[in-house]
């Protein structure tokens, strides 16, 4: 009984990624291509899984608690900029650089949380201000030059499938442990749906919120590092040029939420991110024009949301049809 249910849950969890894979592979075959043609495709796929998974974690940690965060992109940009610059100056390899990026990003997250906690300005507005501020910082820090590490083969060489899998696995494991099996996580989940009760019971909301911002920041530090190590350069962005990152995490977050009914929520997010990574891979393999890409992504987002928000109605109509047969 328990076993069959477990199996059923596992199958439902894998439903979306597998369906996406099948559809895309079929489309690829139709075009005479293979989705996974060579090592590059695999690398792209696992990099996207890592990026999207971590970004979606970073977004959902705070968004689930009703805290919008427009500054994710700016945090990843600024932490990568600082880490890249220091790696260049101190001539350190990828692992120390990753550590610097994570530490800096966690501090940036903490600062963001600190401003929020001190001023009590609604989080969405604080995040707008912080996004602007961090973009400005990154620009000022490098004089607008950004970072170029294209000649640092040790750092560029970090971009391997193995490392991507390692980073994703470690991040998922840590996040699952942190949010489902620690005191911090227990408090977090309590605050999530019962803010008032939790605070009155004696849970320290401020500390928890600061922790969330720091963790979310640290994740974006990894994302920034991955992208800098991948291309070898970090471009600057001003005037909210960095906020686009946040939007890419919505669809995987919703998909993850759906999958999360059948399996651990964070693993669900990873599976959602996997689906998105497949779509990214397909865009690259089919060399889809970017305007088509953005329209397709937007349509997917809307369609999935339509399903989610009308699931009950859709399912009952479907069942009625079944019954009629």
């Amino acid at each position: 009984m328990k076993k069959t249910r477990l199996l059923k849950n596992l199958m439902l969890s894998l439903l979306i990624p597998c369906a996406v894979l099948l559809v895309l592979e079929a489309m690829a075959l139709g075009k005479g291509l293979r989705l996974f043609a060579n090592a590059d495709s695999w690398k792209l796929f696992f990099r996207a899984v890592a990026n999207v998974t971590l970004t979606t974690f970073a977004l959902s940690i705070n968004l689930d608690s009703g805290r919008f965060d427009f500054s994710l992109g700016a945090v990843s940009m600024l932490s990568a900029t600082v880490a890249g610059t220091l790696a260049q100056q101190w001539n350190v390899g990828p692992w120390p650089m990753l550590a610097i990026a994570v530490a800096v990003a966690a501090l940036l997250g903490l600062l963001h949380g600190g401003v929020y906690v001190l001023t009590r300005i609604p989080p969405i507005i604080v995040s707008l201000g912080m996004a602007l501020f961090y973009e400005g910082c990154a620009f000022a820090f490098t004089g607008g030059k950004g970072v170029s590490l294209v000649t640092r083969l040790d750092i560029i060489g970090f971009s391997t499938i193995g490392h991507y899998i390692l980073l994703t696995a470690v991040a998922v494991a840590l996040i699952v442990l942190l949010f489902d099996y620690t005191r911090f996580g227990a408090n977090y989940r309590a605050l999530l749906s019962g803010q008032k009760i939790a605070v009155e019971t004696g849970i320290h909301e401020i500390g928890n919120a600061l922790g969330c911002y720091a963790v979310s920041g640290a994740l974006m530090g990894v994302v920034g590092f991955i992208s800098l190590a991948n291309t070898g350069s970090q471009q600057m962005a001003l005037n909210f040029g960095s906020i686009g990152v946040m939007f890419t995490a919505f669809l995987p977050m919703f998909i993850g939420g759906w999958i999360g009914r059948y399996i651990n929520k964070r693993v669900g997010i990873m599976l959602g991110a996997t689906s998105m990574a497949l779509i990214s891979l397909a865009f690259a393999r089919f060399n889809t024009a970017s305007s088509v890409q953005s329209i397709v992504s937007a349509l997917l987002l809307v369609l999935f949301l339509i399903y989610l928000n009308n699931e009950f109605a859709i399912l009952s109509r479907f069942r009625k049809k079944q019954d009629a047969k």
Partner: protein, 495 residues
Amino acid sequence: MEPILTVRGMDKSFGATVALRQVDLDVYPGEIRGLIGENGSGKSTLTSIIAGIQKADAGEIRFHGQPWRPASMIDALAHGIGMIVQETGTIPGISVAENLFLGESSRFRTPLGLVSRRRMELEARKALDFIHADHIQPGMPAATLDLQERKLVEVAKVMVKQPEILIVDETTTALSQKGRELLYQLMNSLKAEGKAVIFISHDLDEIKQVCDTLTVLRDGRIITHFTRENYDDDAIKTSMIGREMQGDYYRSDNEPSWQEDVLLRAEHLTGSGLDDVSLQVKAGEILGVGGLSECGMHALGKALFGSAQLTGGTVETEGKAFSDPRQATKLGVGYVSKERDTESLCQQASIRDNIAIAGLKHIQKKHLILKRRETAYVQKQVDALSIKCRHMEQPVSAMSGGNKQKVVFGKWLGAGSRVLILDCPTRGVDIGVKQSMYQLIAQMKREGKAILLISEEMAELIGMCDRLLVMKDGAVQKEFLRGQMNEADIIRYMI
């Protein structure tokens, strides 16, 4: 005998509002102490300070003779004082076990620093068994529990710590008879062990039945104490409201009466927990609906206003059918929700906005809403209902429960509703205001309005209704007429 708990000279204010002034209180071992007072009299504030939810501005509390300064609710509970709060105290998104050990997950830390869910759930099982809540599973998400089960989880959460003092704040309204009896039993066993209980309730009958001593608060002060021997309804009520009750409490007449026209007619309502309910309310009639909290009567209220998801049935007023709140409002049907704060009012909005919102079409003149007319419209309701406020721009969030309910009444009366569906209109309202509301309902009856009164308070139903429908499991079990209602009969059909 030495008191376990002494409170001396406690002050507390919220901004300009003084909640407590110079409160002294002693609680002795082996007693069940009732706290009673109108809304805003300071009962909840006093107990929440004792339980560590908030801090006093001044004064001293001693527990077992030692100064008592809990850092939080958890801290207080760990050191012997636990409280079951008035509102829902469980968090829906986490499991029962996590709710039971909210804020204490570190107790289940493994050597690796992680929290052991298995151990937590084992402990939770014990706690639930302790209060005989065998049917609740510790691993279930709290969201899947019903209101009563959630309250039981809260009870278990407090009882597992075996507190020296248990504070129960208006908990029983959420419990069925069975749940109540369970709670009384627990309270009595605490009493037998020489511990103490502080019990807060609006229900005078209940409090008299349960408590050994009774302390009355008014406007943040302790007014007087009663012991079981000298309980006297009138004396208690008088001390609560600070004056003698004038006139009738409920209706004075004892005969059912109504006019001929049917103002509200419902046929075969099914769905949302209702099972083929049909009824009609005539002009000048007060139709009561009673039952246990989950019997479907609240869903019925919503369904009659067109805001429930039904699978079948029709509702019409004066021959015109309607199926959503918008049409209902247009046709002169008003609905006062049981959830006053979340469904009947917009908290941040002013008194003005809240009263005017349903009557905009009456305020409009040539389609325009002029502030002057609006002010006059609102002022009329404020005066008619004697709503206590400094000015009508005040946000309703800062008002007391009774005053808020008056605003809700004002909203529908101003809009000229001929049919009023009142779901627990006096819930959490203090006696003084309650009385004026009953008089208001009686007056609406005289004005020929059709009133559907849904209530969990038997006395109120018996006191006010021309006819009473008793519901159980979503269906009407029995109809009583005014003059033929008696509590024992009614309860028989309820359960």
